[in-house]
């Protein structure tokens, strides 16, 4: 057995123990860098590198080399080729080379009923042409554009899959994938690309019954979307949570929570655990989170780590809280002290892996030396 394979197995064991509710040998670490960071860190041009996905391997490799992690730390999520082919309005590359998400309305107010009646038909017939200008045309053109875009998408995903596999082998990362599936909370999918942030905030007040029915209708779709072809108890479906912190408690309770909880439970019934990015501050909803199935993975952005450990620590797997903003502004010592402080609170008894409070998207969002120092500190010192 090669050294790297042995290392992979050792790291896989850390995560298996974590997931099985055993105390691992040390605190597992999952570094998380966006492809934009990796491209800038390798000194490459953002626009060119995002189009030339064949060439991403040596670019990602540089981040893998310099930043400690037990799982593959780089991933790409949105790439320009297929968005461009489709004439995307919702994901657009700005003058800086970053793909960004302007506010869009994929679902008109009067289309709620169509969505509620058959969400997937409504997405194909009404939403896609509003989000993608090249699909807003006759059906022959549409099918040609769709064919090109799907080919581009599968090519990009194929390239990424191959690159990920090579890097996992080369750097001995664990064989655990928390991004093996992807979906959203039903309320979030209706908010993000369909109604938009502004419209949904108004809908919540004006047409709450429609919002509630739409979230319910989207639930089976989200469960299906989040279930990969081969579910595994050691992989997870990534669900980035979005809108809840912007809602009043009583709107959350009625319009957000029930369909989201059903989604997580539905995934569990299909053999998938959920990996939640708990964006912003969910502390006022912590008792709701406690209701989610045992072993749900939650990466927190903001909030009170002590409270989270106390309320969720025995049932769920916790990560996050480490402020990327500190990596940018703090001294090396302050950064290391923060890691120590979080580990002291979150690691006892297991159920925790080290992670930053968000993906590091760009080179200027963190000080590179601080980031390395923190990851190295945790790797060397956080033993059980």
């Amino acid at each position: 057995m090669t050294d790297m394979l042995a290392l992979s197995q050792e790291r896989t064991q850390l995560f298996h123990d974590l997931i099985d509710g055993k105390i691992p040998k040390k605190v597992p670490i999952s570094g998380s860098f966006a492809h934009e960071f990796a491209i800038q860190y390798a000194g490459k041009d953002l626009t060119e590198a995002q189009w030339d996905t064949d060439g991403l391997e040596p670019i990602f490799e540089k981040t893998c080399q310099d930043f400690y992690s037990d799982l593959l730390p780089v991933s790409a999520f949105r790439l320009p080729s297929f968005y461009k082919i489709l004439g995307s309005r919702n994901f657009v590359m700005g003058s800086s080379g970053f793909i960004q998400h302007p506010e869009v309305e994929g679902l008109a107010l009067e289309d709620y009923d169509a969505f509620i009646a058959s969400p997937f038909d409504c997405i194909v017939e009404r939403v896609l042409p509003k989000l993608y200008s090249k699909l807003d045309t006759d059906s022959t053109q549409k099918s040609m554009v769709m064919a090109k875009a799907f080919k581009a998408y599968t090519d990009e995903m194929g390239n990424l899959g191959r690159i990920y596999g090579n890097l996992i082998q080369k750097f001995g990362y664990g064989f655990v994938n928390f991004y093996s599936g992807f979906c959203e909370a039903p309320f979030d999918i209706i908010s993000d690309q369909l109604r938009g942030f502004k419209n949904i905030s108004i809908d919540v007040r004006r047409v709450p019954d429609k919002v509630e029915a739409a979230a319910e209708a989207a639930t089976p779709l989200m469960i299906k979307m989040g279930t990969p072809p081969n579910p595994s108890p050691y992989n997870a479906t990534f669900i980035p949570l979005h809108m809840a912190p912007y809602l009043r408690g009583k709107d959350f309770e009625r319009l957000y929570w029930p369909s989201f909880k059903k989604t997580v439970e539905g995934l569990k019934a299909n053999g998938m655990r959920s990996f939640l990015f708990v964006e912003n501050d969910w502390m006022r909803y912590i008792d709701y989170l406690a209701e989610l199935p045992e072993g749900t993975i939650m990466l927190f952005e903001y909030g009170d780590p002590k409270l989270v450990k106390e309320k969720l620590g025995k049932k769920h797997i916790i990560s996050g809280f480490y402020p990327v903003s500190l990596l940018k502004t703090g001294t090396k010592q302050q950064c290391i002290d923060k890691a120590k402080e979080l580990i002291d609170v979150l690691a006892p008894g297991g159920g925790y892996y080290f992670g930053f409070d968000k993906v590091i998207i760009t080179l200027d969002s963190a000080n590179v030396e601080n980031t390395k120092a923190v990851l190295d500190y945790v790797a060397e010192n956080a033993n059980y």
């Binding site: 994929g106 058959s118 997937f120 038909d121 997405i123 194909v124 989000l131 959203e184 999918i189 779709l221």
Partner: protein, 47 residues
């Protein structure tokens, strides 16, 4: 899932009764994969 843009193997077979059992064994997994892939892609486009 009830949608005219997504077909399960059972629905496909009902439309094509001439498919033999031997053909079915070879075809079913592959045909279904493409429906699943297109479903995932479309959902990704609005997520």
């Amino acid at each position: 899932m009830n949608s005219k843009y997504y077909q399960t193997w059972e629905e496909y077979k009902a439309e094509n009764p001439e498919i033999t059992e031997k053909q079915e064994q070879a075809m079913a997994p592959k045909m279904q994969t493409y429906d699943e892939m297109l479903f995932s892609f479309i959902m990704f486009l609005c997520a």
